[in-house]
Amino acid sequence: MLRKDIVRMFRIWVQTFLPNVITSVLYFAVFGTMLGSRIGDMQGVSYMLFVVPGIVMLSIVTSSYANSSFTFFQSKFFMRSIEEILVSPTPSWLLVAGFATGGIVRGVMVGALVLLISLFFTGLTISVFNALVIFSFAILTALVFSLAGLVNGIYAKSIDAINIVPTFVLTPLVYLGGVFYSVEVLPGWWHTLTLFNPIFYIINGFRYGFLGLADVPLATCFTILGAFIALGIAVNWYLLRTGLGLHQ
């Protein structure tokens, strides 16, 4: 299943890898270079270096989510090829693992591409405070959003339902989660509100890996990621095991 998904994502690379790369180039050009030069420093580092982890994370979140949600929905709705798997003895936990790993592969690959591109905008300099933290956050975040996308794909009854969550939930959460700013610059009420945004912790932890800067302790970020992973695995396993949203 994983092999099939990877072959698919490379076959249609224009749809799976290119859009995130182009969007990121625009972010780096507009926010990093054009506006960044006027903003100056953020938490003691240049604005360009500050936004790189957030933009990389943005691409990981959207790619991993899109991969599992669309792959599952397409095989359920357009081709009904999901039946190939559902009639087989493949256990539910393995299905969850397969779809989630596909999302991780795409999320991390897109993240790596965006990080590579960021080097052109940062003058080939990138700060790495702790590579292990960077790698852990990339994998775990991709896993969280693959699992979330899978829930969406299982439940979705139309293509609109696949687009609604990324457009109206995911994108606002990511943008308001501190991709382009530190919560330190926010007024009191907004600062408090941001603490309820789970993506804030993810971006924070990831940024810590690059810059050694964080608004909240790293342990809190890992705990929140761990909780979402456990929840995502449990919900997906239950949905596939019982056939809710799938079986008639």
Partner: protein
């Protein structure tokens, strides 16, 4: 005597309130060629969907070679190969990949799956198209691809849901021969079809379902004995004997 399939008091009511199955009980012996006949909407596909776990039953039990589909779903599914009524593969993939990927879902390594898939596709007459995209196959070839996919894990129980729908006469005869050979190899077959001649040619046991209930079941000879000459439609010959019996059994009273 081993039963390939045992269904007891199977009921299914869909969320819309439609009662598709009203207490169906059915047994199929190992090695049998069993035809399940019924008009459109009678409940045939719901029964098949339940056996392969695509439909959640409301009540009743289903077991395949003694493995209950609720308690031992993986063991039950391992025994089954399914040829669905509608095409359900990715048309952008190659036939060889579709079949080999299916083998993967049954835990068969690619080193075994690839030669096995190539042989199956050649035997079914699509060997020269196995490395082209599935969308390039003709309707009959797509149907045969479904059969190859269903057989890749060497199931003991093959379910065919209207496998020859839309297939020309010559090709249909070829598929009949292929299915007969499978029975000789010991594979149990459950067939649903609207071509009653097909059931008459292939099946040794037949059940007729109408409005969610089995209304007749037995050997082909036993079913044919139900023929009531006084109730013949239109007063003359309309088709094979089985077709007459079917019409008599399922007509609106």
């Amino acid at each position: 005597m081993t039963y390939a399939l045992t269904i007891q008091e199977l009921r299914k009511t869909y969320a819309s309130g439609t009662e598709a199955l009203k207490g169906v009980s059915l047994t199929i012996l190992e090695g049998d060629f069993f035809a399940l006949l019924g008009p459109n909407g009678a409940g045939k596909t719901t029964i098949i969907g339940t056996i392969v776990s695509l439909v959640n039953k409301t009540s009743g039990t289903v077991s395949v070679f003694g493995h209950d589909i609720d308690r031992e779903p993986e063991k039950a599914k391992q025994q089954i190969g399914i040829v669905p009524q509608e095409l359900n593969f990715n048309i952008f993939e190659k036939p060889i990949d579709i079949v080999v990927n299916q083998a993967g879902y049954y835990g068969i390594p690619r080193s075994i799956a690839i030669p096995r898939a190539e042989k199956l596709l050649k035997d079914l007459g699509i060997g020269d198209k196995m490395y082209r995209k599935a969308m390039e196959l003709s309707g009959g070839m797509k149907r045969r691809l479904l059969i190859a996919r269903a057989l890749i894990h060497q199931p003991r129980f093959l379910i065919l849901d209207e496998p020859t729908a839309g297939v020309d006469v010559e090709l249909r005869r070829g598929m009949w021969e292929y299915l007969r050979n499978l029975t000789k190899e010991g594979i149990t077959i459950l067939l649903t079809t609207h071509y009653l001649e097909e059931a008459e040619q292939l099946a040794s046991h037949i059940a007729v379902i109408n409005k969610g209930m089995i209304i007749a079941s037995g050997t082909l000879e036993e079913i044919l004995k139900l023929y009531d000459e006084s109730a013949t439609f239109g007063g003359g010959y309309r088709g094979g004997r089985l077709e007459e019996v079917f019409l008599q059994l399922t007509k609106e009273k």
